[in-house]
C-alpha cells in the first residue's frame, strides 16, 4: 500500500490491521487517515450548510443538532448492540460540542501544520474560533 508522507509525497508503508496508528510504520497512515477525515468533515459541512439554507456558525450547529435526536438514539442502540466495554468509547455528547472538541484537539495537539489548518477552517465555520 502507498501512503502520503508528511510532505505530501507518496511513501511506502506497511501497517498491519490492529497495529497502533502511532507506532513508527503507521505514522504516514495516521496522517493520511486524519487528512482524509478532515477533508470529508469539511465536505459534509458544505452539504449541511447548503441544506440549512446557507447558515453558518451557531445557526449551522443548531440546525445539525435539531436534526440529530433520532440519529443519536440509533447510534446508541448500535453501540450497545456491538457490546462489551468498548461500547463506552462512543461519545454521546450533542453533535456541536463533539465536533468542536474533536476539531479543537487537532488544532491544539496535531503536529502536522496542514491538518491543523484544515481543522481550524472547519472550526471557524462552526463559529468556534
Amino acid at each position: 500500500m502507498t501512503c502520503l508522507g508528511p510532505a505530501g509525497k507518496a511513501v511506502s508503508c506497511r501497517c498491519p490491521s490492529g497495529t497502533p496508528l502511532l507506532s513508527p510504520p503507521c505514522r504516514a497512515i495516521t496522517l493520511q487517515l486524519r487528512g482524509r477525515l478532515l477533508e470529508v468533515i469539511s465536505r459534509a459541512l458544505d452539504a449541511a450548510q447548503a441544506a440549512a439554507g446557507g447558515a453558518t456558525g451557531p445557526a449551522l450547529v443548531g440546525a445539525l443538532e435539531a436534526a440529530e435526536p433520532a440519529a443519536v438514539a440509533a447510534a446508541a442502540d448500535k453501540a450497545e448492540g456491538a457490546g462489551g466495554e468498548e461500547a463506552m468509547e462512543v461519545d454521546m455528547r450533542p453533535l456541536g460540542p463533539l465536533l468542536q472538541a474533536g476539531l479543537k484537539s487537532v488544532v491544539d495537539h496535531e503536529p502536522a501544520a496542514a491538518l491543523k489548518t484544515a481543522a481550524a477552517a472547519s472550526l471557524k465555520r462552526l463559529g468556534a474560533l
Binding site: 500500500m1 506497511r14 501497517c15 498491519p16 490491521s17 490492529g18 497502533p20 496508528l21 502511532l22 507506532s23 503507521c26 497512515i29 495516521t30 493520511q32 487517515l33 486524519r34 482524509r36 477525515l37 477533508e39 470529508v40 468533515i41 465536505r43 459534509a44 459541512l45 458544505d46 452539504a47 449541511a48 447548503a50 441544506a51 440546525a63 445539525l64 443538532e65 435539531a66 436534526a67 440529530e68 433520532a70 440519529a71 443519536v72 440509533a74 447510534a75 448500535k78 453501540a79 448492540g81 456491538a82 457490546g83 462489551g84 468498548e86 468509547e89 462512543v90 461519545d91 453533535l95 463533539l98 465536533l99 472538541a101 474533536g102 476539531l103 484537539s105 487537532v106 495537539h109 496535531e110
Partner: protein, 293 residues
Amino acid sequence: MHAEELSALVAGGLRASAWGRKKACAEALAAMATAAGESLCPHAPGLAAVLVPEATAGRLWDGKEALLAALGALCCACSGALAADPGVPQLVAALLAAAGRRKTVYRAAALRALKQLLDALGDAAAKGAPVTGADAAYAEVAPPLLAAVEAHVTAPPAKPAGSGGNGSSTSERAGEGDDGLPPPMPLAESLGCLAAAWRIAPLAVRAESGAALFGALGSVLVRPGTPWASWLAAAGAADEVLKASAGLGGGGAQLQWLAPLLRGLVHALTHSTVSQVGRRLDWVRDDMSRARR
C-alpha cells in the same frame, strides 16, 4: 487491427478445460481491454457471453478471480456495449452472486469488478451519456451491500491483531465457513460499490435511500475497534457520496443524514489519536511492570 482474431483466440482460451489456460487468457483480456479501450467494444458482448458464466458460475479454483478482473476491465472499457448485451441488470446480478460466494479473494474480486462497472456507468452519466439500465443499479446493489455493512458493524469488536493482515476487517477473516454461513461481503469493497452506485442513483431513489446509506457510513466510522483501513474506506466512500450529492442536479443531502455521518467522522478523528495514545501508554506501563518483575 487484430481485435477480432484476438477476441476469438481469447474466447476460445476462456472456454478451455485447463484452469491455467483460462487464467492466462483472462489476464490477456484484461490487458487488451485496458490497452484497446473502446476499440474492443464491438467484440465485448461476444466476450462477455463467454466470460460472465466462466467467471461467476461453476466451482471455485485457485486464480479464478483473474476472470473477474478481466470482466471488470471489460466493463470499464465497454460499459455502453455491455449495457446493450447482456445488460446492466444481468451483469450486476452475476457479480453480486459471485460476491456472495465463500472464498475471500474471489468475493473481493467480484466486488472490485462490480465497482468498475458502476464507475464506468457513473462516468458515462457524468458525460451526459447515461447508459440504459444504469438507473436501476442502486436499487439492486444496495440491499445486499447494506446488509453486509450492517453485519460487519454488529459483529463483536475486533481483537488487536498481532499478526499480518493488510487492513481487512476482522469479520472478513473470522468465522469463514466455520459456522456454515457464508461470511459477509468484504467491508471496504462493499462501501466502494455503494458509493459508486450512488453516483448513478436517480434523485427519487436518493431521497428514499439517503438515510440508510449515510447511517451505514456513520455506523462504520463510529464502531468501536474499527481497523484504520475500514475507517479509510468509509471516509473515501462518504467523500464520493457527498461529491455526487453536491453536484449539479445531485439533490443535496438532508441534515438528518449528515448528522450521523459527522458523528462518525469526528469519532474516527478523535480515536485515531487519543485512544491510540492511551493504548501506547498501556503498553509502556505493561513493559515497565514486566521489567520490574
